[in-house]
Amino acid sequence: MSSTTHTSTIGAIGAPSRRNTELGLLVFAVLIPIFAYANVGLAIDGTMPTGMIGYGLGLGLLAAVGHLVVRKFAPYADPLLLPLATLLNGLGLVLIWRLDQSERLQQLQERSFGAFNPAAPNQLMYSAVGIALFVGVLLLLKDHRILQRFTYISMVAAMILLLLPLVPGLGTDVFGAKIWIRLGGFSIQPGEFAKIVIAVFFAGYLMVKRDALALASRRFMGLYLPRGRDLGPILVIWAVSLLILVFENDLGTSLLFFGMFVVMLYVATERTSWIVIGLLMSAAGAVGVASTAGHVKARVDAWLDPFGCYATSGACEQIGQSIMAFGSGGVLGTGLGQGNSDLIGFAANADFIFATVGEELGLAGVMAFLVIYGLIIERGVRTALAARDPFGKLFAAGLSGAFALQIFVVAGGVMGLIPLTGMTMPWLAAGGSSVIANWALIAILIRISDTARRPAPAPAANPDAEMTQVVRP
């Protein structure tokens, strides 16, 4: 790999800062949700919603703060990431507010919990916290390579975060999945934060071990098989994700961590064998658990034939309702505020919020959303390509890969492409953990891309060009 290829991806030298592009895009990212907000109000009761100015100003303020901080502290950052995240966050707010207006969901909440609590104000608050964290990361993390120092601390932290929901009295069981903890009135999904923390560990660990894992191997049937002792870490990660699957009943989180590890391992070692081994292990794990754990099995059944067990199983009804919401939307959708995606009932504004997009914005809207997510992933991978240090490359690759897997698992789940798992669509779904964690994720990507695109005073040595260094005792 020569140094010319990666500099051609995102030019490092003399690159314009593109901050004004970002600002222009941000204006759209704020205006589109405001129009969407007005659209919902007009569709539901024919008047401009009263909270419109509040939400518009709130979102605009958050975007402005984000932009100013990026302008000051990460001037060479990728110009697309912040506007895309702002747009998704804004549209998420609109969708959640729209579902707050649903009589059916209000009655459902009153019946189940005694009172109806609108989710949109909370979501706006979480968005503010998310932006605060975004600002905090950019202010405190002057250079992402500092995180290398916390490799093993990150591992411990991630393990603790992942296992918290299993602590009695702290973890809560929501529809079978134990991925929540309850702290002082707030529900937190530690897995969302663990996603970032564990990426730090993987990146730091693999940066050090990549040579051993890559080179010390035997050739077998065309594949480079690693030495037995090098298999250790992957086996440990596999076991941990299986434990998550079995004890927390959460296929999504488990798949996410294992997938992220395999992606980073592959990037670090350039060995296809790891992909093959990873796929085989996850397949074995998934099949093994799916055939034994009742909760996972029900979801697999619901995925195979949602209408066959529609009347008898809640899992089937949920996925059936979700699929019907998508189908009822058709190509152009019913228009915001005019669909019946609230028929999904519980979690209509959380795990299933994408079904509302499907019904009210139609095929066109869903494809637009998928493309927006795709763009974020693409900017993330570009950041990884452009990063000059292996840690940054691995870190950005891991975060982008995990983000892509999460989109696939959630959207694929609600669209019936794969069995449903309890994860949330970043920024769209109601829930503080997801919004806050994803803003942190974007902040890290922005930090890495800023470092990558910043004109270097003296061109740094390309780590890839120094292959000879890597043979260590």
């Binding site: 059936g320 019907m324 869903v366 897997l405």
Partner: protein
């Protein structure tokens, strides 16, 4: 590390591509199937999302729509004078579906009909809400009222037809039900529905179209028509070969008249119809044979379902029977059974000089803007008898009203022809008999109305006169209402 990174980028692209393909599959390829899926509540929500179109009688709607709360169905059906009109409208309930006109014309009433497609598309572009169209019926409000109020607390049914077109003017059935009472999907609606369903008087049954009764002596009109048509007798006043007493062929059983009527012996058709001689008509049926009798009966519409457009049960004239059974069938007993609509058709064919028009009750279907989408054109169903024979039979039926068993149906200023009937039923005729009356009224411009009335288990005596006593006054009021309206 860039080569694997590029592959990872491609892999992520594939994940997004898979989602895009799946979404196209769901929202484009499978969209219609999912949109109209039987488990998709949106189908019902959409159905009740707007006011339902109305059913129109005499230019006024007999239905309406009402906003409902506490449910995701926005509108429910209401009915004006629901009990009276239930046999016409049927019901449209959020919980129990729709029947009869409400069901058959559902597409127009909800606005979903394909014939409204263009208009719907236009409305979508202009942002107008979808509306339902109207169904204009042929019914006559005054005649319907006379029929419904005439039946009163008694169990029975009335069907009235305009003989020249086949348009149904009245269609009453008692006891009836108010379709408003279970039009929603609340607990009250559920109770009203279960009460109606379990009611042993079967109020939900549309007796005018869906219940067959032994027509008794009213069927003698058909037998008389068969005798004339097949040339057994040609003159109403010609003496028939009718012994009294008459023993049915192949049996030792005498067919009895209801009382002592010496003039039944060799009585002319006119006389036999006037005093309703079982012996004369039994023998005619047996002389003609089952095939000729059946041929005439079927020309009048027997043995076939009618769609008006609501389905009316097929009336029955037996196909397999021996000679005594043929004799009994010819006086409206044995297995002969007819709906009130069928007997109204018999009277209307005779009144219309032998031409039987296809009965119908939906005159027009209108789009939401009152534009006519389709209009019914009267259609001839068959010619059970020649004009000449029809006039002979009219003459005989008029004698029945003027001097015979049907005198209570006389209307000053109009010519009325009719026939009474009392049908026995039950094992050994143990049950209370049905009182029948069929008739038509005529003015100088032809006949505007033919009617059939049946009253179930009233306190009818076993004499033929009861048809005249109970059913004929109802028929008279219905005819009077139509005559008053057409003046």
């Amino acid at each position: 590390m860039n080569k694997p990174l590029r592959r990872i980028a491609m892999f992520c692209g594939l994940l997004v591509l898979a989602l895009l393909i799946r979404d196209n599959w769901l929202q484009y390829v499978k969209a219609d199937e999912l949109r109209t899926h039987e488990k998709n509540r949106r189908v019902l929500i959409e159905r009740y999302a707007q006011k339902r179109g109305d059913i129109i009688v005499d230019g006024k709607s007999i239905t309406g729509s009402e906003r409902t709360t506490g449910s995701d169905f926005a509108y429910k059906r209401t009915y004006r004078n629901g009990e009276m009109w239930a046999p016409v409208t049927g019901y449209a309930s959020q919980a129990y579906g729709a029947t009869q006109i409400e069901s058959i014309e559902d597409g127009i009433l909800t606005g979903n009909d394909d014939r409204l497609f263009f208009r719907r598309t236009l409305d979508m572009v202009t942002g107008k809400k979808k509306e339902g169209g109207n169904v204009v019926t042929t019914l006559n409000g005054a005649a319907q009222k006379a029929a419904f109020e005439g039946l009163g607390n008694k169990k029975g049914a009335v069907a009235a037809i305009d003989p020249s077109t086949g348009a149904i003017l009245a269609l009453a059935s008692t006891p009836s039900y108010d379709p408003s009472s279970f039009a929603g999907n609340s607990k009250d609606d559920e109770k009203a529905w279960t009460d109606l369903e379990s009611d042993k008087n079967k109020p939900l049954l549309n007796r005018a179209l869906r219940e067959t009764y032994p027509p008794g002596s009213t069927f003698k009109v058909v037998t008389a028509a068969a005798a004339l048509e097949h040339g057994l007798y040609t003159d109403p006043d010609e003496k028939t070969e009718s012994p009294l007493p008459w023993t049915m062929p192949d049996t030792r059983t005498e067919l009895k008249n209801e009382g002592s009527y010496p003039s039944c012996k060799d009585g002319s058709l006119r006389e036999a119809l006037r005093i309703s001689c079982n012996t004369v008509f039994g023998k005619i049926g047996s002389d003609l044979g089952k095939d000729k009798m059946r041929e005439t009966a079927q020309k009048f519409g027997f043995n076939e379902e009618q769609f008006v457009p609501v389905r009316a049960t097929a009336s029955n004239f037996p196909t397999q029977m021996d000679r005594p059974q043929t004799a009994l069938s010819s006086i409206g007993q044995f297995e002969t059974a007819a709906t009130p609509l069928q007997m109204a058709m018999v009277a209307s064919a005779i009144a219309n000089d032998g031409k039987l028009m296809e009965p119908y009750m939906v005159d027009q279907v209108q789009a939401p803007g009152l534009d006519v989408i389709s209009k019914h054109a009267p259609k001839e169903l068959s010619r059970p008898l020649s004009a000449e024979n029809a006039q002979k039979l009219q003459d005989m039926m008029e004698t029945v009203v003027n001097q015979g068993t049907g005198t209570s149906a006389k209307i000053p200023g109009a010519t009325v022809g009719g026939k009474t009937g009392t049908a026995q039923h039950g094992i050994d005729n143990s049950e209370k008999p049905y009182a029948w009356f069929i008739s038509y009224a005529k003015t100088a411009d032809g006949s505007p109305v033919a009617v059939a009335v049946v009253v179930e288990d009233s306190d009818a005596h076993r004499e033929d006169i009861s048809g005249g006593g109970l059913a004929a006054p109802i028929a008279k009021n219905v005819m009077q209402a139509v005559l008053d309206g057409s003046k």
